[in-house]
Symmetry: C2
């Protein structure tokens, strides 16, 4: 072994010991005829001193540069008084080396690893193996490992079996596009990479495994907006003979255990639960960030009678909503700032952003300031002030539109104001969102779509479901943490009759159902236990727990926003022979066609 210790592990306890270390030269400097090397490995940095008394080692030390890989032998000693470095754990000691070996040289890295100079993500991903050397990235992936192992241990201890499911499988309808894999042995047929092991885990319950989990890669060929990746990792869980309350209780316990062990944080016991309806009403979102002390307030009833159409219209529309959001102390917002917020909510379809500034509550209408005041009778103004609990110096924003638009606009505004104004409270605020609707009506396609997936059980009978699909509530539950959906699951349908009924409501005909899910419908006939489960987004959870800004920072080798890897240069062209073996050929691209057309015409 090329070492006796790791660099960062040394401490005053090792003083006087002869040690051998291997690692990277983090920094090297000459000082008073002596060479100082900050030697780095996974565990940290230690100062190595080489002096001219050991001429061979000194000559080599003179040659080393940043990121050289070296091995040294030497004695641990206390640093001379006044030269300690309290910034690093090994700061009280140093190693006086008498032997040094250059294990490998290094060219100057394309960006410095020992400074805080910001580097573009493109460059970081191109030379990811260097980016990952930075202690910050080392720490994130190490914590990811620890989190994964702790989750596994909890599940092991609770009788869950980790069972691997196939990656070369059949398209399933998780809503996104599948990655396809052409088969060579079955020409013109394709596998799909799984968007999740949903049906396999249900089959494992039907197979009697009782409790299953898997830390598993999932694939979605989506247009990468925000913080998505074509491949991501799920902690996938399924269990038989438990209802939603049992499952939520156990999953909470797992999270409390995890946060306790990793962050020494006590999460609430139990987690608060909000119905979907309440979450939308109070926060305009089904993944509310409870750290933000702002809430939406309904004004539909008071606005229903006003003459001001902007409010009266949505107030009288069964699909409309009129709501207010009070920002304490927001009276100081400038015209320009309010304009920017108006632009912000317009992204969510809001046609404007009405507001009222509260100068002096005691003065009633005269203490308020707003272009819309003149449209509102006193009683309405009183109701607004009272319901929002407005105080002097506040601003109240209004949303009035289709409920969906109001929720999205004010929900997003709530988060933005919370962040911009520094209102986000410290700490961790998990909750469960429950009682989701089974279906949403798609106005464009004129049909019901599943809010979760089509295997989610409703909390009602087949008859009720068919009679009032719009009112049916599902047995689904989402775990939300600080405004991020970290997990989602449900009790599943376990009879072929109910599964068939849901397929029918979703417009999946008998033939299509048989073609796509025949194996599931069959399996449900042979003694399927009541079962349910949940899946956690491991990347998101680790992102939150490590305080990272994107999931890319907690993945060793993520893809760019265009689903490519600049490091290995994937995806890449393949040769004609490979395509022939798969009985495929490339189709001309639109630009190729256009060029050919132009050439033919000339």
């Amino acid at each position: 072994m090329l070492r006796t210790h790791r660099c960062g592990e040394l401490s005053e306890a090792n003083i006087g010991e002869e040690v051998e270390l291997s690692g990277w030269v983090h920094r090297r400097r000459d000082h008073g005829g002596v060479i100082f090397i900050d030697l780095r490995d996974r565990e940290g940095i230690v100062q190595v001193v080489v002096d001219p008394d050991t001429p061979e080692a000194f000559a080599l030390a003179d040659k080393v540069r940043s990121e050289y890989v070296i091995r040294v032998r030497g004695k641990v000693r206390r640093r001379p008084e006044g030269t300690e470095n309290p910034a690093i754990p090994t700061g009280k000691i140093e190693v006086l080396a008498h032997e040094l070996e250059i294990l490998n040289r290094a060219e100057t890295p394309p960006f410095p690893l020992d400074s805080e100079v910001p580097v573009s993500e493109e460059v970081r991903l191109r030379w990811r193996y260097l980016d990952l050397r930075r202690p910050e990235m080392q720490e994130k992936l190490r914590l990811r490992h620890r989190i994964t192992q702790l989750l596994r241990r909890f599940l092991d201890a609770h009788g869950f079996l980790e069972i691997e499911t196939p990656f070369l499988t059949k398209a399933t309808p998780e809503g996104a596009r599948d990655y396809l894999v052409p088969s060579r042995t079955h020409p013109h047929a394709f596998f799909a990479l799984p968007q999740s092991p949903q049906l396999y885990k249900q089959l494992l319950m039907i197979a009697g495994f009782d409790r299953y989990y898997q830390v598993v890669r999932c694939f979605r060929d989506e247009d990468l907006r925000a913080d998505r990746q074509p491949e991501f990792t799920q902690l996938d869980i399924e269990t038989s003979f438990m209802d939603e309350h049992d499952i939520m209780a156990l999953m909470e316990e797992m999270m409390r255990d995890l946060f306790q062990q990793v962050l020494e944080v006590e999460l609430p016991n139990p987690f608060p639960r909000l119905t979907y309806a309440e979450a939308m009403r109070r926060f305009g979102s089904d993944k509310p960030d409870l750290r933000i002390p702002l809430e939406l307030v309904d004004l539909g009833d008071v606005m229903a009678g006003v003459e001001f159409k902007v409010f009266a219209g949505p107030a009288n529309d069964p699909n409309g909503r009129v709501a207010a959001l009070r920002l304490p102390g927001g009276g100081d917002l400038s015209r320009k700032e309010i304009d920017d917020l108006t632009k912000f909510v317009s992204q969510y379809g809001a046609k404007g952003l009405a507001y009222v500034k509260v100068n002096d509550v005691a003065k009633g209408r005269d203490g308020l300031q707003s272009p819309i005041l003149k449209f509102l009778p006193d009683a309405v103004i009183d109701a607004i002030v009272q319901r929002t609990g407005a105080e002097d110096g506040d601003i109240i924003f209004f949303g009035a539109d289709k409920a969906r638009v109001v929720n999205e606009a004010l929900g997003a505004l709530r988060v933005k104001l919370g962040q911009d104004r520094g209102l986000v409270e410290e700490g961790w605020r998990p909750l469960w969102v429950v009682e989701f609707p089974m279906f949403e009506w798609d106005e464009e396609e004129k049909r019901w779509v599943a809010l979760h997936h089509p295997f989610t059980a409703p909390a009602c009978s087949i008859e009720e479901l068919k009679a009032y699909p719009g009112k049916a509530v599902s047995r689904a539950y989402d775990m939300v943490l600080n405004g991020v959906e970290v997990g989602g699951g449900s009790i599943r349908i376990h009879t072929p009759q109910m599964q068939q009924a849901v397929f029918e409501l979703l417009g999946i005909g008998e033939e299509e159902a048989r073609e796509k899910f025949g194996f599931l419908l069959d399996a449900l006939k042979y003694g399927c236990p009541p079962h349910g489960g949940i899946a956690f987004g491991l990347d998101r959870l680790v992102m939150l727990m490590t305080g990272s800004k994107t999931i890319r920072d907690v993945m060793a080798f993520p893809k760019t926003q265009t689903a490519a890897c600049p490091m290995v240069d994937a995806p890449a062209r393949v040769n004609e022979q490979q395509l022939r073996e798969l009985f495929l050929q490339l189709r001309k691209l639109p630009q190729q066609r256009a060029r050919e057309k132009a050439e033919n015409a000339s």
Copy 2:
């Protein structure tokens, strides 16, 4: 929760307790006006008794059939004397149920689950979720889970970090065909599914992670012979600053630990090590099954001078080999049996199978019986008898051909005879095979090919490697267990100069090297630590440890021999829209072309 206990967990300790159980009806029978139900769950089977005193439960019990899912409440009691069932762990007790609920019904399964009747694999895979209900399959997957977790714990305890590497990546040259994944966002470009994370784990060492592991799926689009699967699982390991001896020692320890904990078996400490040359010489194989007490014996030197060309030719060919394999007691083999063995070795290219039966050693030539005796002088016959240690009643087989043919033929014959004749000893016989050649000469392509992969470090300098590529030995090591290669690894090349030299020897030009492995060559320049690793075939290891005959039996949802899944019906056709999005079109199959041609001609 729909139960207080699992069925198989109940014992005499629970007598008198009120319990609730949920599970599957394994068998149901009426007997003396009472209904007996063998109720099954993951933990085992317990007998439930329902009598007419609880008429509601009794009426329901009367309706249940095999594989119904039911819940029962009742009291645990001791079985009446004489009715105990010593065959099952719960055989001393039964549950007198007073409440019964049918949770789900079941149609009659396509094959019985409660009997030992053999079922074809095609049927088992088609209804895999039923096949997996069989206690034997439950046990295998449960043990797989346990083995995986124990390996993880060992590695965790030794400072290895589990780090996930991408599945959507670039083609790497593991020797097999890649599965390709067309990219939608980069038209006409393809990802490859990894045949192993080889290069990523090396990059993780360059990134300074020091010790990495991953339980990871790998993909090979091979023609499925014998016991291969298109996707399989590897325990993938890499470490920095350790040499081959450190790595082998640690991996041995891991295996000893595993076998101790799972099977209560003590594996040898240390594992024996054989050089590749010795393994080939003694066993004709680089994965010898040491449980078989038969060895090959070289006869090249004694045969070099005989007139019999069949032996003299290969004996005088530097690439030839003449060897003998003695089967103790094999003198009883019939002419027909020997003919069958001759056919068997012909699969490996052997042109015949010469033999000598040993009737009476003391009589010399006259005590032997063989069609080839007449071609061999006395001195040679004496040498054969002496070297093989022949005794009365034995048979000696001969191989004389290119060394490769002799090794394959006699190596396979050794294993076959060992198995057919019941000579395979009990127990576990692990070993390391080391000192593999770096390269083999490919006669057809007239070029060197790597025996392992092109990132394997040689045990010599660049100069020696270039001067004598055929003599160069690699720093690779294979772990072999009972004739199965369960793991293989090596110390890797860690300088760009050596990597370039190996690429050149393999005929990979500078341009090709840059295109395929530019990122690795770059990475080696920026301070790559000395590193090495190993990968274990998890499926194979679990197969051995569970005493299974194929890896399919230790995978939840394996593919058939034609790389398909009859259960979900994958791979499957996709629609035109999906192909258009990927800028692909199907190429006509040969049979389609032929038909069209015929139609046009007519």
